[in-house]
Symmetry: C2
Subunit: 304 residues, 2 copies
Amino acid sequence: MSAAPAAAGDAFADWADAVRDRVESALDRALPAADIVPQRLHAAMRYAVLGGGKRVRPLLAFAAGEAVTAPGPAVEAVACAVELIHAYSLVHDDLPCMDDDDLRRGKPTVHIAWDEATAMLVGDSLQSLAFGLVSAPRLGIEPAAQVAIVHQLALASGSRGMAGGQAIDLDSVGVELSVPQLEHMHIHKTGALIRAAVSMATACAGEVGTPVAAALDRYAMAVGLAFQVVDDILDAEASTEALGKTAGKDQAANKPTYVSILGIRPARELAAELHARAITALDTVPGSSRRLRELAGALLARGS
Amino acid sequence: MSAAPAAAGDAFADWADAVRDRVESALDRALPAADIVPQRLHAAMRYAVLGGGKRVRPLLAFAAGEAVTAPGPAVEAVACAVELIHAYSLVHDDLPCMDDDDLRRGKPTVHIAWDEATAMLVGDSLQSLAFGLVSAPRLGIEPAAQVAIVHQLALASGSRGMAGGQAIDLDSVGVELSVPQLEHMHIHKTGALIRAAVSMATACAGEVGTPVAAALDRYAMAVGLAFQVVDDILDAEASTEALGKTAGKDQAANKPTYVSILGIRPARELAAELHARAITALDTVPGSSRRLRELAGALLARGS
């Protein structure tokens, strides 16, 4: 998961870098150029999306797509769409009425670099663009599968998915949560989109409602939660400089985290358990689940 | 277009009331119940959408659907989706960083009745829900047509459609615009969604890229602009009480309007000319364009 150049022979890092390059270039093509009216909006949209981010969701989409041998153009569209939804949620999340963050990936947030109104329209427009990508012509998949993919993205993004998780998050500031309640929040807030990255890529190969789709969904659920647990560990431990965002922010805002509820060592154990659960889910996947396996490992390694 | 009970024998008003009832009940079913987690968000989403509004876009969708004999469930989905996008845009537009409005349809706006963060998530979630509706299974149309409909909605909502129009609007506060520049803004801000209401309903009957689709699109473009001209006339003339929103707001904000640029009489003449253009476009539509004709008439009558 490191963004550093791959060491010679490190096949996973090479693969991940190649996916990131492909996604960056696809996003660059999908986003309107900054000289197209309204220029300010388009420049801000590009700023919010390009040139940063770990691209975890696109990596998951490409790894899942490889496992089910899904067509490349469709997986690329799905990977970019899920990243655009993620990017929009960050832009809105950073606004003063939400988390009020000035810094993201080491750069001023969109409402700081532009203004609040523009940041809101950036988020709104990135969401529309995401749906534009998954409904684009010539993705090389059956229209019925494409409709199913759009529907999955809509459910994962909305009030019973990511946006709903943010609402639960808002409602839980200063509230003492149990681990199941915290899990409920994260299953929505970050889990829904991570699951969608995998399930939409799986659907690109026509796998909808099949045992393979179910197994990959179990993988995605475990990875999604592990990702959040590791994030909480990083947030508690890392310095602002290393993270590129304000560290210890959740604690300062009195937001419940896995570390604040469980303590750091049990949080690490939970992450390891979720990792094992993700790997076990791959046992019944007939295709090459190598990248999914490596990705889960790299994800866990972030926080140790 | 009156929300008053239909007079006996007034077939158009009866039809419009029936469409509004059908849309209200479909939106009620589509919106998550207020007792589903996150309850606050779902209650606020319902508040933003239900029990108000002229439902101009759904009326256009149903009238266009009638002209091309499109299947009911698909037209209903399209009508609700376009209304959800419209509703989300109002919620975000009313926020302090945009128009800062406290009153909408005679009721406190969402960020007043709840809070800014909730209002933002309401808008975000309504957008997702709109895409969920047009990608739902069992709409009774070809999957390829459904994919095209989703794509039309995405383009109409995003930075090269409605959200882009709002960005152009922001950029033009205090700026002297020409009529073509004002038209350019409205073609995006309100026109894109009105055209989408018609073109998506048309696509429900498989009419995509056909002469009939082109004729109905010319109708929708003219109606969309007429609608905005009439809105500007109403805004300049009506009292706050009658409108249910703060009147004269555009003038107070130093926003250019057709009335401020042209004066009231030429604005009325422009509305009449656009009305005539809309009616002429219907000449080549073989199906029953009666409701489209009546709707254009009712729309114009609002401002006279």
